[in-house]
């Protein structure tokens, strides 16, 4: 098995689910998600057990999804709740697989494993639902590359100098103090840049009062299978990090088909609060950086790798790769443990 099965995978955002069925292929399983009239979110294998029609082309009726082909209706748990044909008898086998679904912090998580879905293991971002202190923006995109390449990209932020002119400043890699550590199965990459010219993004955070120089920190915390917690913030030189503008981010990468993944990001900020126009601008800046800067690079990388793994191609590695190497090793160890049981 190439995927870690007994883990929660991000499948979308809560506000994406509604009466219009949403199809996403995750871990090679086509999944249809919707939120019925009672507000309950449901995830089903997108295949009618009758004639294998794609359920996502159907219609939500109450809390059930009606197959677009012969009208069988499937509700929570995947059971057929209505048969429009003949006397309406529902055969026992009229059932599609329902995937355990949980919503936390505005994120929809799915469980593909064979063990009971343990909701206490969902990684949390309490800031995302703390509207008194934080404002959030979010986005997502499909990427034509193995999900681990996206995690590698996030664990080594040294690329920002060359790929993201809004998020970094020229020469900042020379001024970066980088360190990696492992805490249990969490891999942490820290980047510290004292007395650094402020980036365009954080100049936006300060507005008119932006200092020329700041202490800049970015801390990336990776956990298997591929969820990353980023803290990126600046503060006036020599001041505590709690004083300056901070962003806390979730970057969640879920495999779709081999060589493809879906990338979800959500960012909470403690500056320029309650300002919808700023939120729009920030969302566009971030989404554009990921979509027009990271995505084409990662996809080009994947094409040149031609289906071979990183290990097979033996890349030359630099010190800033130590976190992504470690994360891949933790994932590999977990996969080996999974195979052994």
């Amino acid at each position: 098995m190439k995927y870690l099965m007994n883990e929660w995978y991000a499948a979308g955002f809560s506000d994406e689910l509604g009466l219009d069925p949403l199809l996403r292929t995750l871990l090679e399983v086509p999944v249809v998600m919707f939120r019925g009239e009672s507000g309950q979110a449901v995830a089903l294998h997108d295949r009618c057990p009758h004639r294998f029609a794609p359920l996502h082309k159907g219609k939500v009726i109450g809390d059930a999804l009606r197959c677009p082909y012969h009208g069988l209706q499937f509700g929570a748990g995947g059971v057929c709740v209505h048969n429009p044909v003949g006397d309406g008898k529902i055969p026992k086998a009229a059932k599609t697989t329902a995937l355990p679904l949980a919503e936390r912090d505005g994120i929809v998580w799915l469980w593909f494993g064979d063990q009971p879905a343990d909701e206490s293991r969902i990684r949390r971002w309490p800031e995302f639902s703390d509207a008194d202190q934080w404002d959030c923006v979010q986005g997502h995109m499909p990427i034509e590359a193995d999900f681990a390449l996206v995690a590698d990209n996030l664990l080594d932020l040294s690329h920002a100098e060359f790929l993201h002119p809004n998020l970094a400043t020229p020469g900042f890699n020379q001024r970066t103090q980088y360190s990696m550590e492992q805490d249990g199965e969490t891999v942490i990459a820290r980047n510290w840049r004292p007395r650094e010219p402020i980036t365009r993004l954080f100049a936006m955070a300060y507005g008119d009062q932006a200092p020329q120089q700041v202490d800049h920190r970015s801390i990336v915390r990776w956990q298997a299978p591929s969820t990353l917690h980023l803290e990126i913030g600046v503060t006036a030189c020599g001041r505590p990090s709690t004083e300056g503008p901070t962003t806390l981010q979730a970057h969640l990468v879920t495999p779709t088909l081999p060589g493809q993944c879906h990338y979800f990001w959500k960012m909470a900020r403690d500056f320029q609060r309650k300002d919808p126009a700023f939120s729009l601008q920030l969302q566009a800046t971030i989404q554009s950086a990921f979509e027009t800067e990271d995505k084409p690079m990662i996809e080009a990388q994947a094409r040149y790798m031609g289906g071979q793994t990183l290990e097979q191609l033996r890349p030359v590695l630099l010190p800033t790769d130590s976190a992504s190497v470690r994360a891949r090793r933790v994932l590999q160890q977990r996969l080996e443990r999974q195979a052994a049981t």
């Binding site: 820290r190 004292p194 890349p315 130590s322």
Partner: protein, 316 residues
């Protein structure tokens, strides 16, 4: 590696000095979480770990507490010899002793110099209005570092000071201090090995689950006492013996002897050159191996790692 300078050296208690550190170039030192420590690199290749416990207003500067241990192999003596204005090289902070997220109550047990990480944790918890108790055990009041800071500061109400040579009433009643384990109560202990074992054994006897016990040993990693020394490399397959002199890497010695070990990054990141160790103790200087893999001492990265033992026998 960061070039730091000692801003202030202060005697805190019998045998204990504190050192306030700043970056030599005047920039702020990296932020850190309570429980974190830094590597301090001393002359002769000595590396020592010290927990950080700066006052909250010390943004961008560090404070470490150092116990002078004359019986040790030199790190603490060398540290105590340093004065304000002296420079030293430090690593970025690392945290192997973090506070658990979502704890409802925290019990902190410090023995002697083990107070340093717990002091930072206690002050962090106090500022956030969290429920905690700090138990601080010392041999005598003369050995109590940071006593005034604890008694007079934000954590004073939550601190219980225990002095070995004091009256019986103030001594630590461990079972009472521990109490019955509760789901969201976490225990943290740091200090001499005997003290830590005593606290942990007491907690386990009361049925505390391992997941709620957190500990920081001051045992230095294997490389701590290793100057950049010469050593002997024995190749088990051919029976050859090579000398690895000071200043030369193992892969270079091997290459000179006509033995080609594949390398890629040449700085301990990629693990390409990982070589099996049959005997001897490697001085791991890579970042590829995990702590657990390092401690097995059954492989090493010849691109950057060396030996702690006089001889290293490898599977080449």
């Amino acid at each position: 590696m960061i070039d730091a300078v000692i801003l202030r050296r202060q005697v805190e208690a019998q045998g204990i000095c504190s050192f306030e550190l700043a970056a030599a170039d005047g920039t702020a030192l990296p932020p850190f979480e309570p429980g974190a420590h830094i590597d301090v690199h001393l002359d002769g290749g000595l590396v020592r770990q010290y927990s950080l416990c700066p006052l909250p207003e010390f943004a961008g500067r560090y404070l470490i507490g150092v116990l002078r241990e004359p019986g040790s192999r030199g790190g603490s003596v060398a540290m105590h010899a340093l004065q304000a204005g002296d420079g030293l090289r430090i690593g970025a902070p690392r945290n192997h002793f973090p506070l658990a997220a979502g704890a409802r109550r925290s019990l902190l047990f410090a023995g002697g110099i083990g107070i340093t990480p717990l002091l930072a944790m206690a002050e962090h918890l106090a500022v956030r209005g969290q429920v905690f108790t700090l138990h601080y055990c010392v041999r005598s009041s003369a050995h109590m570092a940071f006593g005034d800071r604890i008694r007079d500061g934000a954590i004073g109400r939550n601190a219980r000071l225990h002095v070995d040579d004091g009256d019986a009433a103030q001594k630590l009643d461990l079972d009472q201090a521990l109490g019955q384990p509760e789901p969201a109560t976490h225990l943290y202990v740091c200090g001499p090995a005997g003290f830590m074992d005593w606290v942990l054994a007491g907690a386990r006897a009361l049925g505390w689950p391992e997941a709620q016990l957190h500990k920081e040993y001051f045992a230095a990693p294997a490389s701590a006492d290793a100057p950049e020394g010469a050593f002997e490399l024995r190749l088990a397959r051919s029976g050859r013996t090579l000398q690895v002199p000071v200043g030369m890497r193992v892969i270079d010695v091997l290459a000179d002897a006509g033995i080609d070990v594949p390398v890629s990054c040449e700085q301990g990141v990629c693990g390409t050159c990982l070589t099996r160790v049959i005997d001897g103790i490697p001085d791991h200087r890579d970042v590829f191996l995990t702590e657990e893999e390092r401690s097995r001492n059954d492989c090493f990265t010849p691109c950057c790692s060396r030996a702690l033992s006089p001889q290293l026998v490898v599977d080449l």
